[in-house]
C-alpha cells in the first residue's frame, strides 16, 4: 500500500513532464493572435459550392465546416498575403459590394501586436501563477502542503498545454484566458483537499481523503460536463464562435488532468506529509 501511493503520486508528474517534452518537440499551433494575419469567416447558405472559392485563394487556408444554421467558411491568410485581394475574391464570389452585407466576421492582426503576444501572454500567465502561489502560501502557511498545491497547479497547466499541442488547439488570447481559468479551477479542489486533511479533526486520514474526494470529484464533474456540452454546442451550432469552443476544450483537458493531479499527486504528498514527514521531525 505504501509503495502503491508513492507510485501513484509520481504518475501524473511524469505525464506533465511528457507534456512539456511534447510541446518542445511538436510545438503549439499558432492562431493569428500569435502569427499575425487575417481571418475571415462567412456563414454561407447550405448549397453553396465552395470548392471554387478554395481554388481562387491558393495562398490562404480555407476551412469549411457544416453547422445546423448553414456552412461556415473560414479563410485564414498570413501577414504576407494581400488582404485586399482576398477580400476582392470573396466579394466577387458571393456577389456583394461590401463584405458587411454578408453574415461575416473578420479579424486582422498586425505584426507589432502579434509580436507582443508572447511577451504579454507569458507575463499574464506568469504573474497569475506567482500571485496564486502567494495566496496559497498565505492560506496554509506551511511549505509542504502549499508546495503540493502549487506543484499540482503547475503540472496541470503543463498537461493542458501538452493537450493543446496534441489536439492542435491553437494558442491564442482565448486559450490564455482558459489557462488562467484553469489555475482557478484546479487550485479549488486542491485547497479543499488540503483544508479537509489539515483542519478536520474527525475521522482517519483515509476517511478524510476519501470524503474530500467525493466532494472534489463532484466539483470537477460538474465543470467537465458543462465544458463538454459547451464544446459540442459551439462546434455544431456556431462554429464561428470558436473562442468559446477553444476555451472549453482547454478546460476539459486541464480538468481531467486535475482529477489525476489532485487525487493522486496532491493527495499522495499530503499522505506522505501526515504519515512520514511530520513523524520524522
Amino acid at each position: 500500500m505504501n509503495i502503491n501511493y508513492k507510485v501513484l503520486t509520481i504518475i501524473p508528474l511524469i505525464l506533465a513532464l511528457l507534456s512539456l517534452a511534447l510541446v518542445s518537440v511538436h510545438g503549439l499551433k499558432e492562431s493569428i493572435d500569435v502569427s499575425g494575419g487575417t481571418e475571415i469567416s462567412i456563414l454561407a447558405s447550405e448549397n453553396t459550392d465552395l470548392s471554387v472559392l478554395k481554388e481562387k485563394l491558393p495562398d490562404s487556408e480555407v476551412k469549411i465546416s457544416e453547422s445546423s444554421i448553414g456552412t461556415f467558411v473560414v479563410i485564414k491568410s498570413g501577414l504576407d498575403t494581400d488582404v485586399d485581394s482576398v477580400r476582392a475574391v470573396v466579394k466577387e464570389f458571393f456577389n456583394v459590394e461590401d463584405l458587411s452585407e454578408l453574415s461575416y466576421t473578420e479579424k486582422q492582426i498586425g505584426s507589432v501586436l502579434s509580436g507582443k503576444f508572447w511577451e504579454e501572454g507569458m507575463k499574464a500567465v506568469g504573474f497569475a501563477f506567482i500571485f496564486m502561489a502567494i495566496v496559497v502560501y498565505a492560506i496554509f502557511r506551511t511549505p509542504v502542503p502549499s508546495g503540493a498545491v502549487i506543484l499540482a497547479a503547475a503540472s496541470d497547466m503543463a498537461i493542458a498545454i501538452g493537450g493543446m499541442s496534441l489536439f492542435g488547439i491553437p494558442i491564442s488570447t482565448a486559450t490564455i484566458a482558459a489557462l488562467l481559468m484553469l489555475v482557478g479551477y484546479s487550485v479549488d479542489t486542491d485547497i479543499m483537499l488540503t483544508t479537509r486533511v489539515l483542519k478536520r479533526r474527525t475521522g482517519t486520514l483515509d476517511e478524510r481523503i476519501s470524503g474530500a474526494m467525493k466532494t472534489g470529484i463532484t466539483m470537477s464533474l460538474t465543470t467537465i460536463f458543462a465544458m463538454a456540452v459547451l464544446y459540442l454546442v459551439v462546434t455544431f451550432v456556431v462554429p464561428a464562435a470558436d473562442v468559446l469552443a477553444n476555451i472549453a476544450a482547454v478546460l476539459l483537458i486541464g480538468l481531467i488532468g486535475d482529477l489525476m493531479l489532485t487525487w493522486m499527486t496532491n493527495a499522495g504528498i499530503l499522505r506522505y506529509y501526515m504519515t512520514e514527514y511530520k513523524k520524522g521531525k
Partner: protein, 388 residues
C-alpha cells in the same frame, strides 16, 4: 418561513430583484463582437503624452463623424495604442484609409510651399467640379496671399499636392491662377467625370484629412475585428443555447450525486441567481458584454457551483453540533479558492492583453459577488433544508 427573515437570504433576494430591475429597465448592452460592428486598434509610431492622445482622439472622432459614423467609442490603451469601436456595419476599406492617414497636406510649386493643410478654411464634400471629380476647398486669406506670391508668373508649372509625402495629384497651374491676385477657391481633382470606387474612396480620404487636420504622429492598424449584426445575433443565440445545455449538464451531475431535490434545487437556483447578479452588475456599470465576458460568466458560475458543493458537503458532514465549525471550514475553503481565482485574473485586469479585459472583469465581479452575497445565503438555505 423562518428562512425569509434571515438577513443573508434577504440580501440575496434584494440583490436579485435589483439586478432584474436593472436588466429590465436599463438593459444590457452587447459588445461589437455580439451586436455587430468593428473594433480597430491603432498603434502610434511613438508613445504619446496625454494631451497628444486627446488630440488624436478628437481628430479620429471627427474623421469618423465626417464619414457618417456617429456612435463611435474611442479610447487609449496604454500610451501607444488607440482602440476604436464602431457599433454599426461600415465600409472597412475606406475606414482603414481614413484612420491611418496622418493627413499632413502640402502644395508645392517649383520647390516652394504654396500652402499647407493649415491654410485651408473650408472643405466641400467630394463631387464633380468644373475640372473633374474631386474635392473643392477654400484657402484662408493669408494662405491665398502666400499662394498668389508663390504662383506668380508660374503658369504651366505643375502644382504638386502631397499627402503624407505621397504625391496625390499634380495639376498644371493655369495662367489665371498665376496672375498674382488672390484666389481662395481651389480644387484637388482625383479623376475625370467618371470616378471609380477607388477614386471616390481617395477623394473622401483627402476630404476627411483636410477637414479634420493632421494627426500628431503616424499610426498604423494593428488589429481589426469586425462582425456583421446577423452573425452577432447567432453568437448570442449560440451562447444562450450552450449556457442552457451546460446548466442541464450540471443539474444532471448534481442530481446524480445528491438524489435529493431539496439539495439540488437550491444549488441550481443559487447558481442561476449568480448569472443574474453578474448581468445586473454589467448593466449597472454599463459594461458591454462581449464573447470574452460570456466566458467570464461561465468561469464565475462554474466556481460558484463548485463552492456550493463544498458548503453542502461540509454541512452534511458537520453532524448536528459541529455545523458552525463545519461551515466555517467551508468558508475558509471558499475564500481561499476565490482569492486564488482573483489573484490569477488580476494581471489580465491590469494589463488588458488583447480583448480579455471583459473576461477578467466579469470573472472577478462574479467571484466577489458570489462570496459576499449568494454563498452566505446559500449556506443558510442549505442548513435550513438539512435540519428539516
Amino acid at each position: 418561513m423562518k428562512l425569509l427573515k434571515d438577513p443573508k437570504v434577504i440580501i440575496l433576494l434584494v440583490c436579485i430583484l435589483a439586478s432584474l430591475l436593472l436588466i429590465a429597465f436599463k438593459g444590457i448592452s452587447f459588445g461589437v463582437d455580439l451586436s455587430g460592428g468593428s473594433t480597430i486598434v491603432l498603434q502610434t509610431e511613438t508613445e504619446l503624452s496625454e494631451s497628444e492622445m486627446t488630440t488624436v482622439n478628437e481628430i479620429l472622432t471627427s474623421r469618423l463623424n465626417t464619414n457618417g459614423l456617429s456612435d463611435v467609442r474611442i479610447y487609449p490603451r496604454g500610451s501607444d495604442e488607440v482602440v476604436i469601436e464602431i457599433p454599426e456595419s461600415a465600409d472597412l476599406d475606406r475606414i482603414k484609409k481614413i484612420l491611418t492617414q496622418q493627413g499632413v497636406f502640402t502644395a508645392i510649386i517649383d520647390n516652394q510651399t504654396a500652402y499647407t493643410g493649415q491654410d485651408i478654411s473650408y472643405v466641400e464634400e467630394p463631387g464633380t467640379t468644373a475640372s473633374g471629380y474631386g474635392v473643392g476647398f477654400k484657402l484662408t486669406l493669408d494662405g491665398a496671399q502666400n499662394f498668389a506670391d508663390v504662383a506668380y508668373g508660374k503658369g504651366g508649372y505643375p502644382v504638386e499636392l502631397y499627402m503624407d509625402d505621397n504625391l496625390i495629384s499634380s495639376p498644371i497651374l493655369s495662367a489665371d491662377l498665376a496672375d498674382g491676385n488672390i484666389h481662395q477657391s481651389q480644387v484637388i481633382t482625383v479623376a475625370g467625370s467618371n470616378p471609380t470606387e477607388d477614386d471616390i474612396d481617395e477623394a473622401w480620404v483627402i476630404y476627411t484629412a483636410l477637414q479634420s487636420g493632421s494627426l500628431p504622429v503616424k499610426v498604423q492598424i494593428e488589429y481589426i475585428s469586425s462582425v456583421s449584426p446577423t452573425l452577432g445575433s447567432e453568437f448570442i443565440k449560440g451562447s444562450v443555447i450552450a449556457g442552457l445545455f451546460a446548466f442541464i449538464a450540471v443539474a444532471a451531475v448534481i442530481s446524480f450525486r445528491y438524489k435529493n431535490p431539496k439539495i439540488v434545487l437550491p444549488i441550481l437556483i443559487t447558481g442561476f441567481s449568480e448569472v443574474l447578479l453578474i448581468l445586473g452588475f454589467a448593466s449597472l456599470i454599463s459594461w458591454k458584454l462581449d464573447l470574452a465576458s460570456i466566458a467570464g460568466i461561465i468561469a464565475a458560475v462554474g466556481t460558484g457551483v463548485d463552492h456550493q458543493i463544498v458548503i453542502t458537503d461540509e454541512t452534511i458532514a458537520g453532524e448536528a453540533k459541529k455545523v458552525t465549525k463545519s461551515i466555517k471550514r467551508a468558508f475558509f475553503i471558499i475564500f481561499g479558492a476565490a482569492a486564488t481565482t482573483i489573484a490569477a485574473m488580476l494581471p489580465l485586469f491590469v494589463m488588458g492583453i488583447g480583448m480579455l479585459k471583459g473576461f477578467a472583469i466579469t470573472t472577478i465581479a462574479g467571484v466577489l459577488m458570489g462570496i459576499s452575497i449568494s454563498r452566505p445565503a446559500f449556506s443558510r438555505i442549505i442548513q435550513y433544508v438539512l435540519k428539516n
